[in-house]
Subunit: 434 residues, 2 copies
């Protein structure tokens, strides 16, 4: 009946969620780490390159073997990827609704500074190290690896902050503002790099045009949400209160906006987050969260486990030189981001040493954004870039895995961090600082 | 970057859910009908054969044009179909958890009788009318159309009962038991028909073997759930209470069982429903429902709207003879099911006239099951079957659309239905009948 393929997808879906939950539970209970770490590692373990390949090796559907192999197939279509997209859009929408909008605006400049600092230093380090160690790839290659190192994964960052219950702290909000603006800067860099790869010339003008459109689109949505939230309630939410589907309508609008921002070349997660912010300012906020958080709890682990499934660790055993370059890149990616974000947090935001460090560490994960840029590089440069692509994948995963491990002691240290005693926004508000 | 295709899927997903919500709201508020009716009609309206084709005609992704065209493409892969499958599995799992297990067992024999009666009469009518009006298709064709008429869509039936808040009545439970057993009988018939089409001979033995395995698998799961629910709680639920993911673990197990029953050739929705029943007997029932109902509210409309999107009404304008056959089939499908189920409900269950009528009407919708059987027929018989396939599609949709319209006055009449005054199970229990 041709339906077996869908049944196998149901199995894949169940297996991925089961692995994610077991991984999450182990991380939380025994390693005292955020569940997202366990979900990522579970993904690496069940990937077609590891356990999944051993058990279901011959099957092109279960655990998505056929489509994961080879350059992460960004040039072909993955059915599992759409579920992953739905999951991450849901996650970012929930994060948006959970955000304190006034605090978001308050830390706007600090976040912008953090984003800029967190782009400049890693980009320079990435460009220079590839120029020094792998010069045969040429300038476009240097540019792509620089771009990989500038990325920040909003999805991973949000999830770690959620797991640690730090989304609502001033550090958490600064990280989020930074990650959103980082995405816009990332688009500008990527479009410059791609057009350079295609034409051999730099077209800064066009890139800045894209960046400006993205920034305006994003800012316009934010202002509409903050200023006109009464009308949002009146037009979009009130009519659906009687049938009890109001929270569902809110998240559907989130999906629509997630798509609409892609027309301004932004990533859908940026749209989902801003859409969430629009509803965060409404009176219906709590009711919306109540109705959509279970959807996020159900789907989000899929995204992270699927992210882990795209990693082939065995590659680095067979190519030790790339592994060494990858390790150097990981160190630079981590230090570059921490230092690049620490300085603006300290200078623009006047954050304490510990708070600035938290912001820097929170911006470290490259996650899926790093993978996307690396995939674009592979598409543009082809075979010569394949080794660097593998290294870039390792950078994305390693920075994602180490971030929660580094953040945890910092958050534990935070309450006793000297002259700025409380790092929680609520406590700042109570003491009248804000 | 090759990501546009995923962005378009986000748009498709959002548009389908928006259309479904608007349709559902109109049905509920202005037509006083269950939302599922509006979701189905919304699907027909935005389908590639109607509005969707006009607006996004050239796009192979948005609203899933490329994959919907041509024989509903059961022989190819639909990315949207996996979301639809996830949605319907979620719906049936929630329905299972919501079911009163003891009542389910109490109405087991009545439900079995209803299923058998609801298969025999429609099958005979379908076979005979095609033999009389469309004899050129041959015996395999008569058998397929008979099979189409025996189907009952558990998904549609559950949703209508949920929308009308009648899932927990004795009529609701009898309908559900009937629909589940109907699915098992349907497998037997379908495998007989398909093997007849392939070999030209009837292989009743093999078919009954399949049926027996299905019945045993399903019954074993049910008994495990009823007898050993303490162990289910202890092993599968308790460990995940601390992290707050217990309801998520329950629904993941539902997905796993939904797949496992397909190994016994049952439809995944049957597995999802029985998995839900397993958890319905646990102490954690309310907490599970609280955590998974929002997921169902989010996804279920997708399934129904997508179902509607597979209908091409224009076909019947261009082929009036098929339209006439379809109308006759719709009348026979409706009357056959109502009468075929009414008699066992009255005789085996000793239900009142109105209650028996409710059970009969509740079994009428063919929904996706009818489409699946018709698709299998098209696969087996090819082009000669195409006209009857179109008629079968209309039967599936029409029986689905008219059911809520017929049920509504019955349910309104129910409380004053003579000697058996209350049709609600709770009221039966209070008055000491059960």
């Amino acid at each position: 009946m041709g339906l077996e393929v869908y049944f196998k997808f149901i199995l894949s879906f169940a297996l991925i969620l089961i692995a994610a939950r077991i991984g999450g539970e182990i991380a939380e209970r025994y390693l005292k780490q955020p569940p997202v770490l366990g979900e990522l590692v579970a993904g690496i373990i069940i990937s077609p390159f590891a356990l999944g390949g051993l058990i279901f090796g011959g099957d092109p559907i279960i655990l998505n073997f056929a489509t994961v192999h080879g350059g992460f197939g960004l040039d072909e279509f993955h059915a599992m990827e759409i579920i992953s997209q739905i999951a991450v859009v849901t996650l970012l929408f929930v994060a948006g609704v959970e955000t304190d909008v006034r605090a978001f605006l308050r830390y706007g400049w600090t976040g912008a500074g953090v984003a800029v600092g967190g782009v400049i230093l890693p980009f320079a380090l990435g460009y220079l190290i590839i120029w020094a160690l792998y010069s045969e790839i040429g300038m476009t290659g240097f540019l792509f690896m620089g771009a990989v190192l500038t990325a920040t994964s909003i999805g991973v960052t949000v999830r770690i902050l959620m797991d640690m219950r730090r989304l609502q702290t001033k550090e958490g909000i600064t990280i989020l503002v930074g990650a959103v603006i980082d995405d816009i800067i990332g688009i500008v860099i990527l479009s410059v790099v791609i057009s350079t790869a295609q034409t051999g010339e730099l077209d800064i003008g066009h890139a800045f045009q894209i960046g400006a459109i993205g920034l305006v689109a994003w800012f316009a949505l934010l202002i509409v949400g903050v200023r006109f939230n009464k009308y949002i309630s009146m037009i979009f939410l009130n009519p659906f209160k009687r049938s009890g589907t109001m929270p569902i309508v809110a998240i559907i609008i989130g999906f629509l906006i997630a798509y609409l921002v892609t027309l301004a070349e932004l990533h859908p997660v940026v749209g989902a987050y801003v859409a969430g912010l629009m509803f965060a300012a409404t009176r219906e906020r709590e009711e919306i969260l109540h109705g959509i958080r279970p959807i996020m709890l159900f789907l989000a682990p899929f995204f992270f486990c699927y992210l882990g499934m795209q990693v082939d660790l065995s590659f680095f055993v067979s190519a030790p030189i790339i592994a060494i370059i990858a390790v150097i890149l990981i160190v630079l990616a981590t230090l570059g981001k921490i230092i690049g974000c620490y300085i603006p947090a300290r200078l623009v935001g006047r954050f304490s040493h510990t708070s600035s460090l938290m912001v820097g560490v929170g911006m470290v994960p490259r996650g899926e954004v790093g993978l996307i840029i690396a995939g674009a590089g592979l598409l543009a440069l082809g075979e010569p870039f394949r080794d660097l692509f593998a290294a870039a994948v390792l950078v994305s995963i390693a920075t994602t895995l180490i971030t929660p491990v580094m953040l945890k002691p910092l958050f534990r240290r935070a309450p006793a961090a000297g002259p700025e005693p409380e790092s929680s926004l609520r406590e700042d508000q109570e003491s009248g600082i804000i």
